[in-house]
Amino acid sequence: MLAKLTHLDRLEAEAIHIFREVAATFSKPVMLYSVGKDSSVLMHLAMKAFYPAKPPFPFLHVDTTWKFREMIEFRDEMARKLGFDLIVHINEEGVRDGINPFDSGSNTHTHIMKTVGLRQALDKYGFDAAFGGARRDEEKSRAKERIFSFRDAQHVWDPKNQRPEMWKIYNTRVAKGESIRVFPLSNWTELDIWQYILQEDIPIVPLYFAKERPVVERDGMLIMRDDERMKLKPGETIENRMVRFRTLGCYPLTGAIDSDADSLEGIVSEMLTARTSERQGRLIDRDEAGSMEKKKREGYF
């Protein structure tokens, strides 16, 4: 009697297939590692795809210098434990110009430190394919994107003129300077991600679990004060609240939610009754209409 594949089995197989396709057809792939839960799943799948070998590509983290400290610790520990090749890139020009989320605004900060930083890193190393953990259920413009998503030599996505993507036959051909962003988790939903983390016991940053943390209420969001660089505005106070994060990014731009879910099961059960989508905790998505598409066209992941 042969085993019947479950939904997660199929999603896993699809992602592994995509990883191998890239390794077989590109000369210099890289995996974008953002330290979040989707990245953790992606990394886990990459390890599976090439077992017993290590993934034949490095992992790249574009550090905006405003990530939660726990994210950086987690990142370095994972690199040590799994022994993958980690490249950390910081947009030094942005640092020199004093770009930060408070004075420069979330849009400028994200554009310069993340999008431009990413483009710098891709150009510097000449990567021709880059894996990302984006899912189609996250956001409307992502729902439109191919698994193998073509970028021209300026890293620009042309959403009106995407290559047809038939069956599992991927067109991996690029000319010099052009590249492809690859999304092995395209068909996963947020629930699939959590379910897989639970099933495979995948380590994730502790910030996803509820704990008493120092937070400030600002612009309707709960911001965790992760270091002294965040100055309090008049009338703001820091309070310790049981909170957790549904997504992780730059700490001043990522809202926490009140929660007592301190286990994976708790997170899933909370998610099943949630009334808001996960990107709601992201300040950058609310800046302007169609803002994710605009960022993506500029080269954001």
Binding site: A24, R136, P164, N171
Partner: protein, 645 residues
């Protein structure tokens, strides 16, 4: 304390139970298609909303967007939930396919919302290629339109066997059963030859939700299932596990000398440790020694699983080959017939060389014969010389190296391919293999005792093909003739293939359309190859305006043997010289399809030799060519003696 712990454990157990239940649900992938404005995106928005998949913040955004871009007056415009691109919302149309995810207590769904405009047909095909069922929408007021038929034909060709005929906007025809019956009969008549296993017509109003999730009391005469009831229960048989074993090798995993594994996804059937398998292209047999995954070795693997296979013997296999069941093998051939859907603004030209990709294999391919175009209105087969964008045809394809495949009807994974433009790398077409052509099996390459090397040695030279390209009047023939004289004088064996001369003989049946120009070059390239095989130094002097054909010619020859020579004379100078009086005629409109005037010339990007002719004598340019050839021969000699490695 103990009490609380028990409660937490119970909660954890119930979450795990819930998730286990989710895992047991089956998945249905479907698409919505049909003509513009039939309400595809609205239907999906309605499905998501009525199955409670929309979060509060998304609803808030939707209400805001509806006021700004909505086309439904005061009501919420559900189409804006799926039309995620700015251009789509501004224009109120769908440009590209959007994938959405939802589930009901019975099943999980991935739905592809595809565009209705003819110009975006390729995006509809993208969505259809991974779907098992298609919802074909029809506006009750409009009935079955050309685009309804086109999408149905494409769905059928791509192997979709289940159709829901959604007769939408039934509220706008006063819920009239006669309208519904007429459209249903109309569609059934059209679709009778398309091979669908089921066609389920449902009257509905996506905008108001009638018969989508909620049964409508406004359509009392309809007793069939609602859309969601049908989607939850329709049986889409997944027979892949029952079929013969196919394992396209994707990646050879060789971390060290002790491990050599073939990584890939089982396309069909199953395989177990100890099973005998055969390498499709070579026919070599071996046994499965291990089925490796990170979680431990498996006893067996089934269709859909991504694994790494280790064989008992050292057999030569690389990416693109296939491990298969010994008793039921795939075809291995270099010619086959296929259905083709064309995606590109540039028409398909028989004779032009494209890249063909199957799931893991890639080779050069040419459409040798376009047998017919399929009329999407009546499914009739019509004669055609080329396939334009969004057209569907049946053709014979010849590939440079044999590939392993099944017919698409037998196996959707191993019977499909895409075609890629060699210059732009665009995905220009998708193909479904109908059958192998027997010819390919019967022509065996004769292994001759006297080979190319022997023939060349007898002439004491190395073969070469000088490929002169450039505008009419650029000086190609003059330089070619001088070069031949010089080579001949130094004892070389040469031959000139000249555009004008060949057109009087071998190619006298060809004109100057794009199709004919492609065929013209193909024949000349093949002749040049035969001559080089005979050991000659061939000088081809042809305008050869298209990059793709020159590349095709290049790939026919071994590397180092093809020497592209760009005879670069500016257009103005060629028109001034006008040795045959052709420019005067073309510029006055008397001569059509003239290169540089009303037919394009694509200059070489990386020619081996670039001759800028202005201000240079033909003799000095011939010197350059002769010197280049001498240097090549010296370099190759050193390489053969080991000095070049």
């Amino acid at each position: 304390m103990r009490h609380i712990m028990t409660k937490t454990i119970e909660a954890a157990d119930s979450v795990r139970d819930y998730l286990a239940g989710q895992e047991r649900k089956s998945l249905l992938r479907f698409l919505t298609c049909g003509s513009v404005d039939d309400g595809k995106s609205t239907l999906i928005g309605r499905l998501l909303s009525d199955t409670k998949q929309i979060f509060e913040d998304q609803l808030a955004t939707l209400e805001r967007d509806s006021k700004k871009h909505g086309t439904t007056g005061e009501d919420v415009d559900f189409a804006l939930l799926v039309d995620g691109l700015e251009a789509e919302r501004e224009q109120g149309i769908t440009i590209d396919v959007a994938y959405r995810f939802f589930s009901t207590p019975k099943r999980k769904f991935i739905v592809a919302d595809t565009p209705g405009h003819e110009q975006y047909t390729r995006n509809m095909a993208t969505g259809a290629s991974t779907a098992d069922l298609a919802i074909v929408l029809v506006d009750a007021r409009q009935g079955v339109l050309a685009q309804t038929r086109r999408h149905s034909i494409i769905a059928s060709l791509l192997g979709i066997r289940h159709i829901v005929l959604a007769v939408n906007k039934i509220d706008l025809v006063d819920f009239d059963q006669a309208v519904f019956d007429r459209i249903t009969a109309n569609y059934a008549e059209f679709a009778k030859d398309l091979g669908f296993a089921s066609i389920v017509p449902i009257p509905m109003s996506a905008r108001y939700g009638d018969n989508v999730v909620r049964r409508s009391d406004r359509i009392a005469w309809y007793s069939g299932p609602t859309l969601v009831e049908h989607l939850e229960t329709v049986v889409v048989d997944d027979a892949a596990v029952e079929m013969p074993f196919r394992f396209p090798v994707q990646y050879v995993n060789r971390p060290n000398l002790d491990f050599r594994g073939f990584a890939g996804t089982v396309a069909s059937g199953s395989v177990s440790q100890g099973d005998e398998v055969v390498v499709a292209k070579s026919g070599k047999a071996s046994r499965i020694k291990r089925i490796v995954t990170q979680g431990g070795d498996l006893k067996s693997a089934v269709a859909g699983q991504a694994v790494t296979l280790v064989l008992a013997d050292e057999v030569e296999i690389s990416r693109g080959n296939m491990l298969v069941a010994p008793t039921a093998r795939p075809h291995v051939a270099d010619q086959f017939a296929a259905n083709l859907v064309w995606f590109n603004e540039q028409a398909l030209l028989p004779g032009r060389s494209y890249l063909l990709r199957t799931e893991t294999d890639q080779t050069s391919a040419t459409v040798t014969e376009l047998k017919c175009r399929i009329n999407v209105n009546n499914f009739a087969r019509e004669a055609a010389k080329s396939l334009e964008m969004n057209e569907v045809g049946i053709c014979n394809i010849s590939v440079q190296a044999p590939i392993a495949f099944d017919t698409f009807v037998e196996n959707r994974t191993t019977g499909a391919f895409i075609l890629i433009d060699r210059v732009t790398n665009a995905t220009v077409g998708a193909g479904m293999i109908v059958h192998a052509l027997r010819r390919a099996d019967n022509i065996h390459w004769q292994s001759l005792d006297v080979d190319k090397k022997e023939r060349a040695l007898a002439k004491n030279q190395r073969p070469a093909v000088f490929w002169f390209t450039g505008l009419s009047g650029s000086g190609k023939s003059t330089i070619a003739n001088l070069l031949e004289k010089k080579l001949h004088a130094s004892g070389r064996h040469t031959y000139i293939l000249d555009g004008d001369n060949v057109r009087h003989g071998l190619n006298r049946d060809l004109g100057f359309t794009d199709e004919d120009r492609v065929e013209n070059i193909r024949r000349v390239a093949e002749v040049a190859k035969l001559m080089a095989d005979a050991g000659l130094i061939v000088i081809v002097s042809f305008i050869s305006p298209f990059r793709a054909e020159r590349r095709m010619a290049r790939e026919l020859m071994p590397s180092g043997e093809f020497i592209e020579v760009f005879v670069d004379t500016p257009f103005e100078e060629c028109a001034r010289r006008d040795p045959k009086g052709l420019y005067a005629q073309a510029l006055s409109g008397k001569l059509k399809n003239f290169t540089g005037v009303d037919s394009p010339y694509e200059a070489p990007e990386n020619p081996e030799i670039h001759l800028k002719t202005l201000g240079k004598s033909p003799e000095t340019m011939v010197e350059t060519l002769d010197e280049w050839l001498r240097q090549r021969d010296i370099a190759e000699q050193q390489y053969e003696q080991g000095g070049g490695i």
